[in-house]
Subunit: 348 residues, 2 copies
């Protein structure tokens, strides 16, 4: 009853060859930048040829000294101008800042030096809709220098924007999109736990939200990317940030968060068309949240629900960045967004 076809491997048909390794420079050696380094060390096609950081304790050290010894002897410098010349197809991986306005000059300098730029800058994920003039300038610099500029990461760049767009391709029509992302901040790095306000009082949390220091950057950008890619025509985008409050004492590292204190953020972006809700992006990042997951619901014809378990923030951001490198190098020059570039590794 069983028919078996066995077959030998196909002859190599890939257009890729390994005549040379692609040079990579690293701008920003914080937690994500170091994860990117670690991930790249396991890939055969790339070689880290330089790095920049502002930390005086890192400048002058080799990447091997900064990491666990698998990234070579390139020396960390203090400015982009000191980086080595970009060889053909060289890429700069930028993990240093969320504000596009603050890092745009660095992007331009890297692109003029001949580097493609892939950045985790959240505001770069859909800059055309939020910072049009700056986006147009960066697009021009990229095109003039024949390189690609891409903002990506797991969120924004993948879980709450790219994946819903990819899943919408199975639909005859899309009426709305909802994404609910739940992350247990207790499993994440300490800076993130601070960023989401873990351990604060509700009053302190409110002050920091008002100051703008507690906020996941990029959620409105994700909503705009989904809106634009799917042609949903939203006319109003609203963002709210509330605390997740401990109902009982919750352990955190060597300490704990007391009852009534803050565990993290509950952030919501709703996009409406003529007053009707069309897109709902709901992000919860808090210590001790059960069942971390991403639920992507497409209200469409026929509609679809996807539940993903395993999209861990820091690790997935570094992975999405590294796995985009192959596609970035073959994309048309210019400012690109995640929906334009398949988040599919080229031979991994």
């Amino acid at each position: 009853m069983t028919v078996t076809h066995a077959s030998s491997p196909a002859a190599s048909t890939s257009g890729e060859s390994h005549e040379r390794l692609i040079g990579v420079v690293h701008v920003g050696l914080g937690p994500i930048g170091r994860q990117v380094l670690a991930f790249l060390a396991g890939r055969g096609s790339y070689r880290s040829i330089g790095a920049v950081d502002i930390d005086p304790q890192l400048i002058g050290r080799t990447l091997n000294q900064v990491t666990d010894g698998a990234n070579g002897d390139a020396v960390v410098v203090g400015s982009v101008g000191e980086l080595p010349a970009a060889g053909p197809g060289a890429v700069a991986i930028h993990c240093a800042g969320s504000s596009l306005e603050k890092v745009a000059g660095t992007f331009a300098e890297l692109m003029r030096a001949g580097y493609h730029v892939v950045s985790t800058c959240e505001e770069l994920s859909d800059p055309r809709s939020t910072q049009g003039e700056l986006a147009a300038q960066l697009d021009r610099v990229a095109a003039e220098n024949g390189v690609v500029l891409l903002g990506t990461g797991v969120n924004p760049g993948y879980s709450m924007d790219y994946l819903p767009v990819v899943l919408a391709a199975s639909q005859r029509a899309v009426h709305g999109v909802a994404v609910h992302r739940v992350q247990d901040a207790g499993l994440r790095r300490l800076p993130l736990q601070r960023k989401v306000g873990a351990g604060l009082t509700v009053e302190e949390f409110g002050e920091r939200v008002a100051q703008g220091t507690i906020r996941h950057v990029g959620l409105p950008e994700s909503a705009r990317l989904v809106d634009r890619a799917l042609g949903l025509g939203c006319t109003e985008f609203t963002e709210t940030i509330d605390p997740v409050i401990a109902q009982a004492r919750v352990p955190l590292g060597d300490s704990a968060v007391d009852t009534g204190h803050v565990l993290g953020i509950d952030q919501l972006v709703v996009a409406r068309r003529n007053g009707v809700e069309v897109i709902r992006l709901h992000l919860q990042m808090a210590v001790g949240l059960p069942d971390p997951r991403d639920v992507i619901t497409i209200d469409g014809d026929p509609g679809l629900e996807t539940v993903i378990r395993g999209l861990h923030g820091d690790s997935a951001t570094a992975a999405v960045v590294v796995n985009s490198l192959g596609r970035v190098r073959v994309a048309p020059p210019g400012l690109r967004t995640a929906d334009e570039i398949p988040a599919s590794p080229l031979n991994f």
Copy 2:
């Protein structure tokens, strides 16, 4: 405690304009071809300018007469040579046959006439690995004529190959991929129920499998696409086809499938590297299967599991085809595979 940012819609920043509608011709007006027509009728950017079918009852009729009246007055012709001239960016949607060898001539004729070609031909989904010489010829014809040739659909083309590759982008490393797709053939069109052998005796099923008339075409292609895109280095691909047998009488339309008879197929492709299983694509299409779903498991670092409910075969195939059109028109000319072209609608 709540901070609200409201914002007005961004100025239109899309590079797309609607100065003209894109012409589409339809080759094959079977169940899938007609669904594609129905889906396209709801989209503003395209216009159906011609159609080909071999059915004498269709030839000479207008598309409006063939469908429900929303596809215009183009007349169905009997051969590709009678189609109208392809305007700029025109696309031929081909839904007529699974065997690449049989339809390659039609593809070449369409491309020489200036059409991009998007086809549901299952063997076109990863032809380089299985039919290398023919694939190279078609690639040349596409490149010479400045058009794209793409094989896609929901399976192969999306659920068991493209989506796992997209999901793998979140991983530091991938060790293996498993996809389990469960489809209730009772909800599908009659030709599909026949194709999977619903109602046959186990003996009849075995005969038809041996003859090659019962088989979902494209599963090995999906495995090869995943292997290639993720660089998994598989060296052996094995396909088995078994019946799903009714344990009790199961209703089917006006009739039923008796106990002990066949409800459908259970098809499995396993790809191994040095004898070790790396890829497992398991497809069950049978009448009455409970909980239709796609489960995609990435064995990686850190690993991931995705459960999707709602990827219905016929409808999703037509949707994936229609939603690929925008991307096909901006992709580099040549033979392309689904992993190279984002399955993301361009403004839907």
